[in-house]
Symmetry: C2
Subunit: 323 residues, 2 copies
């Protein structure tokens, strides 16, 4: 049996056929074209799904279930998308609509949650009992896995790690609160800090790297200049690492998972970022001599969404499964 | 069958016999007398346990298991207490020593964790799938229950809610970090804020209530004066409620449990505190129209430690238990 995984993004919808082990067997994509009626978007989604299956040589009988990762919140009972801000979706009957194309169980969960779940099935946290995945992108998302299963909370509104209050009365956040974690740990935060520093220090390598046009400064600019040991970029980088360590420490002090997985665009910095975080985190730990969560970089990249969504439909392994 | 629950505190060790439903059948207590060799303390503990059993008419055959709640961290595999700062304990073989008195399985966990577990067995969160218990006392402790079982983390260092960073560069904490949650949400924080305000406003009712001796000001003084609508006390109370709401919101944004339970000394303020928190929390929520964790006051009071410790030994209900 195979599983269909659908990763819904603001630009494109990626659809893959995945086996039980989380291997991506074949895939396709269709543009989202946000702004259209949801029926049109789901029609393209449904047709793309059937096309991907056909291209891969899979029939409806081969498919166990369909999983969808959305940048929003879904109701597990009804299969309705409650919110999906980037898509302009509110109360969209995604399950019912999608079943018109392939009548199989449809599981829907948050995109960061399914990406974290994918890592725990066949990525860096494979085999871990518990893990917390953090996507470090424009914002900060979270995916919690406990006992090998994704956990989006009892009401489905949890794992919103980006909106944990980190600095009372700090930077205003788009959510209406102040000092949310994502104001300090996102790529957006790196860019904000980088721009502030370049304005104060135009002699920084970062200024040259973005051709003197500060509006072109990215998180990569900051990290690349830091790798070149530019003092100003190093300062921004160290500041960012410090915030990220506090985010990791928040996860350790609260949930203490077996592993913390860093994903999203910022995590592409790889070992340069990872080593800095691993080196600095011990200073924050409450119990300095005891073991704590391993911190690693995500492995599955852009495929994590499809794989994790597909794996939502995988039956839960029972401890007492008899052969 | 019955379960022995032992609640180890800095002043006294409380021991109870508890049935499967979490009912306290009989109990006793022995002074801790901190500073003695651990062998002496565990000897008193063991003898008190046997005395309580005898007084209640229970024999060793009636006892299924022993559970111990400690103000520290234990190793679940070895049954050793790793740290127990208030007791001056480090690497104490509590399980082995205790089994010399009654040779039964011994389970050890953090005191806030077992108190939260007790509430989920037969207290305010009974029947909840998931809950987070917060003890609001001298410090702030946490107890997480997921799927009906206590969760102290993969390495046993989690649920340390009091040390989640809440204010970067905020109040220094005894743990070495700055701006830990317990600096704002503990009874200690109420007293600190109350004293600061009374010094600035000696016309406050709080000044009279502590007989003009500010060193006698307690969290209860602040709450009692706030109930009398003293402006200055109201300000401290509202400030505290605001912090506590941010703590609850941190729990919701991260874990989204079915219920958040407020326990510890500060929670004795009951509905006066609860109503204020319930009223103010919606302003922080990310998804303002969706259901979120119920917030309630703990019910079991000082017995929660014994009951929860005892229940650690209760067999885990299997969904697929075969007769």
């Amino acid at each position: 049996m195979v599983y269909i995984g659908i990763d819904v993004g603001g630009t494109g919808i990626k659809i893959g056929v995945v086996d039980e082990a989380g291997t991506l067997l074949c895939q396709g994509e269709t543009p989202t074209l946000v702004g259209r009626p949801y029926e049109d978007i789901i029609r393209d989604m449904g047709n793309c799904m059937l096309r991907v299956m056909e291209d891969g040589g899979y029939t409806a009988e081969d498919v166990e279930a369909i999983g969808v990762g959305i940048p929003g919140i879904a109701d597990a009972a009804t299969g309705n998308v409650i919110f999906c801000t980037n898509m302009g979706w509110k109360d969209v009957p995604l399950r019912t609509e999608l079943q018109k194309y392939l009548n199989k169980p449809v599981h829907i969960d948050n995109d960061a949650t399914v990406a974290g779940f994918a890592e725990s099935v066949c990525g860096v946290s494979a085999g871990c009992h518990s893990s917390v995945f953090i996507t470090l992108g424009t914002g900060v998302g979270g995916g919690i896995v406990i006992g090998g299963r994704p956990w989006s909370g009892f009401h489905g509104v949890g794992s919103e790690i980006g909106h944990i209050p980190m600095d009372i009365g700090g930077e205003p956040c788009s959510c209406g609160n102040y000092g949310c974690l994502e104001r300090y740990c996102s790529a957006t935060a790196i860019i904000r800090m980088g721009k502030q520093m370049v304005l104060q220090h135009p002699d920084s390598l970062m200024y040259d790297m973005c051709g003197g046009d500060i509006s072109k400064l990215t998180a990569k600019t900051v990290f690349d200049a830091a790798k070149e040991e530019d003092d100003v970029a190093m300062k921004v980088f160290n500041h960012y690492v410090d915030y990220l360590c506090k985010a990791c420490y928040t996860i350790i002090a609260f949930l203490d998972p077996e592993m913390i997985v860093l994903g999203g665009g910022v995590s592409k910095a790889g070992s340069f970022l990872l080593k800095a975080v691993q080196e600095r985190i011990p200073r924050y730990l409450l119990f300095k001599t005891l073991p704590y969560s391993r911190i690693e970089i995500a492995r599955l990249g852009a495929d994590a969404g499809m794989i994790g969504a597909a794996m939502l439909g995988k039956p839960i392994k029972e401890a007492s499964s008899n052969g």
